[in-house]
C-alpha cells in the first residue's frame, strides 16, 4: 500500500450537517433528528477509505450527501478544492463521483451487459468486447454474473455486481460503495475487496465489519451519532478493537439465550424436500424438524443450496417433492410442490427473507405500505409495528431511505406481530452491525421463550455452531443435509 497522505484530496467535506424531521406524534408535532452533526472528511486519490459506524450512525446519510441524493442542511463539499453544490446525482456524476447502493435500482428490462453501457462514455457499443470484459471481471471478482442475464432476474449478490460494473464503467475518481459486503458471501467478500485498490479510484468503503475495515482500508473514519469519533490512517495504525471502542460507548452486553428450552413437541417439520431450478443447486431429500421453543440453524457455504432451500421453504419456488408440517396448528401437512407464501403464512408461519430490499419490502413503497402488508394496507396496523420495531420515523417515507438495520427491524416486527407458531429466517444477521445483531438475537430468544419454533438459515457457520444460541445445527452441503 502506498502512502499518499501528501496528495491533495479528490473530495472533501467541511462541517456537514443534516437534519431530518421525525415521525409526527399524536398532536402532529415532530422533532428534528440530527443525522450528521458537523462531519469533516477528506478522500485522497487511490486510497481505500473505510467509513464505519453502527446502523443509524449516519453513514448512509453522509454518502447520500456526497453523491447528490440528499442536500445537506449546512456545510460544504469540495471537489478538487472547489466548493460544489449537487442538485442531483447527475451533478455528482458529472464530477466523477459515483455510488453503488446497498439496494441498487437497475434498469430492470435490460441485461447485465446493456446495463453496463448506461455509464459508458463514447458512442459505440462494442458488445463482443464488453461481453468478454464482463466475463473476465466476473472471474476476477468471483461473481455469479453473466453478461446476458436479465437484470430483473438476478439475486442480491449478482445485482450488486451488476450495479458495481455500471459504476466502474463510468471510470469514477471517487467511488462510494455502500455496505458492499452486506450482500456478499464470505468468500466473494475477500475476493472482491482485494480487487479494489487496482481500480485506481479513491474508494469510500462503507461498512460495519470492523475486521474488514482493519484489513482492507488505507484510512478509517468512525462515525457515531453523526459525528466523527476516530480518524486514522494505516501509518498511524488501527485495530478492530480500536474501531469497536470508537463505535460503541460501552461494552455491549451480548445476551446468550436462556438454556433449557426446546424440550417441547415438534412444531415445524420439513420432510423429504427435493427442489431444483435452472442455475440453482438442487436439493436432495432435505428433512428437518424444530421443536416448539427451540432455535435451530441450517448452515452451509455458498453453493450448498441454502438459497434454494430458502425459496422452497417460503413457497417462492415450487418443490419437486416434499412437505412442510406445523403439528398442532391444525393446518395439517402442506405440500411444498404447490405451497404459496400465502398458504404457508395462513398456516401460522412467519417468513423473514434474505432479500430484504425486494422481497421483505420494496424501495418504491412507503414504510406504511411495507409495514401493513399483512393487514392489507390497514393504516391502523402501522403504528404498533413501528413501535415494536423501535423506529421513530415518518411512515410516509420511502422504504429505500431506511438503513439496512432499520429495514430488518421493520420486517421482523411485521412478521412477528401475529405471534407465529414458527418462524423461518434467512440470513437475518446479514449486513447488521454488532448492536443490531445482538438485538436480533434477543428478539429471537424472546420468540423461542414464547414457544415459537425458530429456524434460521445462515451462511455464518460460526453463529450456526454457537451452542449458547442454537439447540441444533444442520449442515447443508451440495443440496443435502450432512
Amino acid at each position: 500500500m502506498i502512502d499518499r497522505a501528501g496528495d491533495a484530496p479528490v473530495c472533501e467535506t467541511r462541517d456537514l450537517r443534516k437534519e431530518f424531521r421525525s415521525r409526527p406524534d399524536e398532536t402532529g408535532n415532530y422533532r428534528l433528528v440530527v443525522a450528521l452533526d458537523g462531519v469533516s472528511l477528506a478522500f485522497r486519490p487511490g486510497e481505500v477509505h473505510a467509513v464505519v459506524g453502527e446502523n443509524g450512525a449516519g453513514k448512509s446519510t453522509l454518502m447520500h450527501v456526497l453523491t447528490g441524493l440528499v442536500a445537506p442542511t449546512s456545510g460544504d463539499i469540495l471537489v478538487d478544492g472547489v466548493p460544489r453544490r449537487f442538485a442531483s446525482p447527475a451533478d455528482a456524476l458529472a464530477l466523477d463521483i459515483a455510488m453503488v447502493h446497498q439496494r441498487p435500482l437497475l434498469a430492470a428490462g435490460l441485461t447485465v451487459l446493456e446495463n453496463s453501457f448506461l455509464g459508458s462514455r463514447g458512442h459505440s457499443l462494442d458488445r463482443p468486447r464488453a461481453r468478454a470484459r464482463i466475463r473476465a471481471l466476473a472471474r476476477e471478482w468471483n461473481a455469479p454474473l453473466d453478461p446476458d442475464d436479465c437484470v430483473s432476474e438476478l439475486g442480491p449478490e449478482a445485482r450488486f455486481f451488476a450495479a458495481f460494473l455500471e459504476a466502474v464503467s463510468r471510470e469514477p475518481r471517487l467511488l462510494v460503495l455502500d455496505e458492499p459486503t452486506a450482500v456478499l458471501g464470505p468468500k466473494a467478500r475477500d475476493a472482491f475487496l482485494s480487487t479494489l485498490p487496482s481500480l485506481g479510484a479513491s474508494i469510500v468503503l462503507v461498512t460495519h465489519h470492523l475486521e474488514e475495515a482493519a484489513r482492507w482500508a488505507d484510512r478509517v473514519t468512525v462515525i457515531r451519532k453523526g459525528r466523527v469519533t476516530l480518524e486514522a490512517d494505516r501509518a498511524q495504525g488501527f485495530s478492530a478493537a480500536d474501531l469497536e471502542k470508537a463505535m460503541f460507548p460501552a461494552d455491549l452486553d451480548r445476551p446468550a439465550r436462556a438454556g433449557g428450552t426446546g424440550t417441547g413437541q415438534v412444531a415445524l417439520a420439513v420432510n423429504e424436500l427435493d427442489a431444483s431450478a435452472r442455475g440453482r443447486v438442487p436439493l436432495n431429500s432435505v428433512s428437518l424438524s424444530v421443536r416448539a421453543g427451540s432455535c435451530v440453524a441450517v448452515t452451509g457455504l455458498a453453493g450448498s443450496g441454502l438459497d434454494t432451500l430458502e425459496d422452497a421453504l417460503c413457497g417462492m419456488l415450487p418443490a419437486d417433492a416434499g412437505t412442510l408440517s406445523l403439528p398442532g396448528a391444525g393446518a395439517g401437512t402442506i405440500s411444498l410442490r404447490s405451497a404459496s407464501p400465502r398458504r404457508l403464512r395462513d398456516a401460522g408461519l412467519a417468513l423473514v427473507p434474505s432479500d430484504r430490499a425486494f422481497r421483505g419490502s420494496h424501495p418504491e413503497l412507503t414504510v406504511a405500505e411495507v409495514a401493513s402488508v399483512r393487514d392489507a394496507g390497514d393504516p391502523s396496523s402501522v403504528a404498533p409495528i413501528l413501535e415494536r420495531a423501535g423506529l421513530e420515523i415518518d411512515p410516509e417515507r420511502a422504504a429505500r431511505t431506511l438503513s439496512g438495520g432499520q429495514l430488518q427491524r421493520l420486517i421482523l416486527a411485521r412478521e412477528l406481530a401475529r405471534a407465529p407458531r414458527a418462524v423461518i429466517l434467512a440470513s437475518p444477521d446479514r449486513g447488521l452491525d454488532a448492536r443490531s445483531t445482538a438485538e436480533l438475537k434477543a428478539t429471537l430468544s424472546a420468540e423461542a421463550a414464547r414457544g415459537a419454533a425458530i429456524l434460521v438459515l445462515t451462511e455464518d457457520t460460526d453463529w450456526a455452531r454457537d451452542r449458547s444460541f442454537f439447540d441444533e445445527t444442520y449442515v447443508l452441503s451440495e443440496g443435502a443435509i450432512e
Binding site: 441524493l69 435500482l105 428490462g109 417462492m316 422481497r359 421483505g360 413503497l365 405500505e369 394496507g377
Partner: protein
Amino acid sequence: MRRFIVPSGAILAAIATIAALVATLVLVAISGDSPAESLAAFAVRPFSSAWFLGNLLDRAGLALLAALGSSVALRSGNLNLGGEAQIYAPALVSAAMLSAPGAAASGLLAFVAALLAAIALGAALALVPGVLKTRLGASEILTSFLLSAAILPVLDYLVSGPLRNPEGNLLATREIEQSFRLPSLLPPSRLNPSFLVACALAVAAAWFISRTRAGYRLRVSGTAPEFARFAGINVGSVTAGAMAVSGALHGLAGFCAIAGTWFACHEGFSAGMGWTARAVALIAGRSPLAAIPAALLVAWLQAAADATSLYSRVPVDVTAFIQAAIFLVISARSLPGLVARSRPRGARYD
C-alpha cells in the same frame, strides 16, 4: 438508479403534453392555406357552440370511462391492449339488444340487461389475458392485443352482415329504440349523463385505489409483485380481477357510446377509442383523478382537429397525425418501464 436521474412523472407528463401540443399546432399551421385561420379554428371552434362543446365533453366522457379501465390495469402492473374489441363487442351487443323488435316493450328491464351484458362481455374479454398470465405466465400485453385483433374483423362481419339494418344504406345495425336513448344534457349535442357517470367513477376509482384493502393489494402488486407475493397477497387474483374490471369499464364505455352517442353500431365502431383511452391513462400516470383533465385535453385536441378540417383547408388526416403525436410522446416515456415491469420473473403466480 434510473429513478434518481429522471424527473418526476407529473413533470414528464406536462412536458409530453406540451410537446404533443406544439407538434400539433405546427402541423395545423403548416398544412392549411391560411395558418391564422387554421389555428383560430383549432383553438376556438370546439367551444363556439353548444353542439361543439357538448360533443367535446361527450367524447371526453367516453374516453374517460375506458381510460379508467386502462388505469386500473396499469396500477396492477398489467397493460391491457385489448381496448378496441372490449369497447366494440359490448357496443354491438348493446345495439343488438336495444334495437331488437319488442325490446321497447320490456322497458327498463331490457336496458339494464343490455348494460349488464355489455359490462360482462367487456370483463370476459379482458379476463382471458388475465387468466392466461396467471396460469401460464403468458404476457398479457401480447394476448390482450392479439385477442382484440382477432375479434375485430368478426365484429365488422357481424355489423355488415347478419346484424346489419336491411332497410338502411349504412354498414350499421338498426338504431336503438327511442325510449332507450340517454337524454341530451346540452341539446342539440350528444352530451348525456354518461359524462357525469364517468367523472363520478373517476372519483370512486381514486378512492378505491388509495383507501380500500383491495386497492392496496392492487397498488402493491403493481409496484412490487415479488414483495406482494412473498407477503401473502394473491397476485394472480389481483391480476385477474384488475383485468376484469378494466374490461368491464371498457364495456361500459361501449354501452354508453351506443345508448348516449351513436344509437347504432357501425362498422369499425371502436375507431381508435381504445387507443385514445390508453393515451389518456398514460398522460394521467398513476392517478384516476388526473384522467379527468387528461380526457378533456385529448378530447379537445380531437375535436379541434375535426373542426379545423371542416372549417379551414386542412386535410382530414390531421386528426390521425395528432393522435400519433400524442401517442409517440407519451409512449416514449412510459412504455419501456411498463414492458420491463410486466415481464414475468419466471415465477408462478398463486
